[in-house]
Amino acid sequence: MVPLWYYLVLAAALFCIGAFGALARKNAVGVLMGVELMLNAVNINLVAFWRYTTAAQLTGQLFAVFVITVAAAEAAVGLALFIAIYRQRNTVNVEEFDTMKG
């Protein structure tokens, strides 16, 4: 089998690409896609660790399923929010979502 660290490096790379997308994209939907990539990276880690350490128990897979569930909920709410904001302000540029400004 492939060594465990292959998967971990893959996940780390995916995570960092996702982080870049989430932090550098101007478009809110782009940001959300970055977040999805990060969550997927986490899932790879969970499943890889499951397979390489405790294959008999399915804990890692179970957690991955929960992550997917939460990701689905997050995507639904996130996109609904973007549509609501778009209606109000006619923009999906994250840089203009600055009502938190002090």
Partner: protein, 766 residues
């Protein structure tokens, strides 16, 4: 569900319901009943009332269970996976929890009933009242429903805490109480005072929360270390002898201290949680200011719940504290406690606010309990925790009744006697420690909590006075009849046997306690009324029915509560008593291998405790009997006119005591001002050095360079200039965007931190 032994009475299975009852009241009030104040109060009282009855039923059943100390009842379910172990969600019932169950729900119940009167439930709302400010006398508080929801949650926290089966559960309920104390101390959040120095309820709540947080953080550190060492946080696992043995024998090298047993380090860290929660020196500063909350909250915090939680924590984790026999952990606890007992008692001598005297007295009595624990008086400390809860709740509720009586008198004096009003028309500036429990917006400022304004209330408010005096006598340890005597005497006896330095300190503290109690009673109830408000004070309003009945019930316990713990060898009375309390708690102590045998009778501590109690009371009576005498019919022009008889003999020490050894000022200067200065400095650094000098400077330099460059050779220097300009622009934009309000910038900070910290972790030597 896992149950260790199934041969328990069936009723034990209802244990997990106990904390749920007030919690259900909380949920129902918040989600459904909050429009109706009467319904909210009814729900809260119903919830805690059921908990009280069920709690007593369970606790009384435990008395007859054989070998209960060795085989406590546990019910738990795996809840939180942590690597290879599970944290359980569970409750345990043992003699300690049983004893607390006798006290906590019952005292909470009485306080809740009292709160109905205190918050004026059933009275009309006043149009003048604002949300978040105390109501005018004779009107209901606007947010009374919210109040009952909070106190119901508070009771949930305490009941859950005493039944917690492991440290995680304990921490959860501990934090629930921390949250509730913040919400309740700051209950009158909209209140503000003319004197900017006087702490507002909002600030007091914040202060309580942040001060206890210091202790909580250290406690959490202790818990984490404990988990790292033992792989468990369940009391049943941690207190196994082999586990304690291992903790006591393995050591850790602490910089500056040397090899320390893990048990000592963990015990001291956990004890810091208790220091914060139980307001011990040096984290005692929050508790007196917690008086800004409504009086039932003060009683709840200071008697039945919050501060007891700290002591309870130490009692609960006592096997850990004592894992190293007579080790530094116990010594630390003993000396912190003894010092605090004396320290707070001296401050209480010079306070004029009726509730602040009680607040310092609470700190002092908690110190007593810690000192007792530190010298190994496990049973005596538990006993004092229980008796103290009864009489201190009584005293706080009594003081609330006095304050309401004074307000009614003040109100009445203004409505009926126009001239009398002028006599109390003074400014309450000057000493910075007056606080008004119910300021009336349309009346001149007057402090109904200042004992110097009182006097002669005995005839005006007989029910309050009698019960308050009983509570006061119990606090001073009035011999034979009061509960306080038996518990204090037991602590002194233990101290005499184990540590005579602690004994002397505690004896002096007990003397001072009796003295300031006598002072308080004389100033409040005896002599003649010193103001028009005291002249017209009364307890005839309908709200006092709600308020005085709990007082009487508590008075009964403040006396009779001590009879369960009369030592067998006490001359005369001992023959009548089987000392059931010692027997009950002692069985647990034995199971945990704590030395808890009854001490042989010794005359020295007995005579000392008799002497200090009676001597202090008599001395207080003699000194304050004649103080502040006025000609008949005359009133004080202002509180400072009342000259305290101690002020002259103590000389410069008196203002020091009055100002609580200036600890608030010290902390303010060192910590708060320090933090403010640091942030101001950082801000200046940002704006001056980084923005002006660095960014602008580099920019200016760049511009200057570019001009020079253009003047010399446009083609060669251009690239360099553009580079510098880009760097400057980038730097400036990074710096500026720290406060942009854009989520992505904030997340970038997270990314930078994580990557840099991880990188550092990688590069640093192991």
């Amino acid at each position: 569900m896992t149950e260790s032994v199934s041969s328990f009475p069936v009723i034990f299975n209802l244990t997990p319901i106990l904390p749920l009852l007030p919690f259900a009241a909380f949920v129902l009030i918040v989600l459904w009943a909050n429009r109706s104040k009467k319904l909210s109060a009814g729900l809260a009282i119903g919830g805690i009332g059921l908990a009280w009855i069920l709690g007593w039923a369970i606790a009384i059943t435990t008395f007859s269970v054989e070998h209960f100390g060795e085989h406590p009842f546990r019910v738990f379910r795996d809840w939180l996976p942590t690597g290879r172990t599970w944290q359980a969600f569970g409750f345990a019932l043992d003699p300690l929890a049983g004893a607390m169950l006798i006290m906590v729900p019952f005292v909470c119940f009485l306080i809740f009933v009292y709160a109905v009167g205190y918050m004026g439930v059933g009275k009309p709302e006043s149009a003048n009242d604002e949300r978040g400010k105390p109501a005018e006398p004779g009107h209901v508080d606007r947010l009374a429903s919210r109040f009952f929801a909070y106190i119901a949650l508070f009771a949930t926290g305490m009941i859950g805490l005493i039944l917690a089966d492991n440290l995680i559960m304990l921490l959860v309920f501990w934090e629930i109480m921390g949250l509730c104390s913040y919400l309740l101390i700051g209950f009158w959040f909209a209140r503000s005072y003319d004197d900017p120095k006087q702490i507002t309820p909002k600030e007091a709540g914040l202060k309580a929360f942040l001060t206890t947080r210091i202790g909580d953080t250290l406690m959490l550190a202790g818990m984490l270390l404990l988990y790292a060492r033992t792989n468990s946080l369940s009391f049943a696992d941690i207190f196994k002898p082999e586990m304690l043995e291992q903790l006591a024998t393995t050591t850790v090298n602490l910089p500056g201290v040397g090899a320390t047993p893990w048990a000592t380090l963990i015990a001291i860290l956990i004890f810091f949680g208790a220091i914060g929660k139980s307001a011990q020196f040096p984290l005692h500063v929050w508790l007196p200011d917690a008086m800004e909350g409504p009086t039932p909250v003060s009683a709840l915090i200071h008697a039945a719940t919050m501060v007891s939680a700290g002591v309870y924590l130490v009692i609960r984790t006592y096997p850990l504290m004592a894992a190293v026999e007579h080790g530094p952990a116990l010594q630390f606890i003993a000396f912190t406690g003894a010092f605090t007992a004396l320290f707070a008692a001296t401050i209480a001598l010079a306070q004029n606010d009726i509730k602040k005297v009680l607040a310092y007295s609470t700190i002092s009595q908690l110190g007593y309990m810690f000192a007792a624990l530190g010298i190994g008086a496990y049973v005596a400390a538990t006993f004092h925790l229980l008796t103290h809860a009864f009489f201190k709740a009584l005293l706080f509720l009594g003081s609330g009744s006095v304050i309401h009586g004074m307000e009614h008198g003040h109100h009445h004096g203004h409505q009926g006697h126009g001239e009398a009003g002028k006599l109390v028309d003074w400014e309450t500036g000057g000493h910075g420690h007056q606080s008004t429990d119910h300021p009336s917006t349309n009346l001149p400022s007057f402090d109904p909590q200042d004992m110097r304004n009182m006097g002669g209330l005995f005839r005006k408010m007989p029910r309050t006075a009698w019960t308050f005096i009983i509570g006061g006598l119990a606090l001073s340890g009035f011999p034979i009849v009061t509960a306080g005597f038996w518990s204090k005497d037991e602590i002194l006896a233990d101290a005499w046997a184990h540590n005579q330095l602690v004994f002397v300190v505690l004896a002096v503290a007990a003397l001072l306690t009796a003295f300031y109690t006598a002072r308080q009673i004389v100033m409040t109830f005896f002599g003649q009324p010193r103001t028009a408000a005291a002249e017209h004070a009364s307890e005839h309003d309908s709200i006092f029915q709600w308020m005085t009945i709990p007082l009487m019930a508590l008075a009964v316990f403040a006396v009779a509560g001590g009879w369960v713990g009369i030592p067998k060898e006490f001359p005369g009375l001992g023959a009548l008593s089987a000392n059931p309390f010692h027997h009950y708690i002692g069985s647990l102590a034995e199971a945990l291998h704590i030395e808890a045998a009854e001490l042989p009778f010794n005359a020295v501590p007995l005579l000392t405790s008799l002497g200090v109690a009676l001597g202090g009371l008599t001395l207080g009576w003699l000194v304050y009997r004649g103080a502040g005498k006025l000609r008949a019919g005359h009133h004080l022009a202002s509180p400072p006119e009342y000259v305290d008889p101690l002020a002259r003999p103590l000389g410069p020490l008196y203002p020091v005591l009055q100002n609580k050894y200036y600890f608030d000022e010290l902390y303010h200067k060192v910590f708060i001002k320090g933090t403010q200065r640091l942030s101001t400095w950082l801000f200046k650094f940002d704006s001056n050095i980084i923005d002006d000098t660095l960014v602008d400077g580099v920019g200016k330099a760049g511009r200057w360079l570019s001009e020079v460059g253009r003047w010399f050779d446009t083609h060669i220097v251009d690239g360099a200039v553009n580079g510098i300009g880009a760097v400057t622009g980038w730097f400036g934009s990074v710096m500026r965007e720290f406060q942009t309000g854009k989520a992505q910038n904030y997340l970038l900070v997270g990314l930078v931190t994580v990557s840099v910290l991880l990188g550092a972790f990688l590069l640093l030597p192991k």
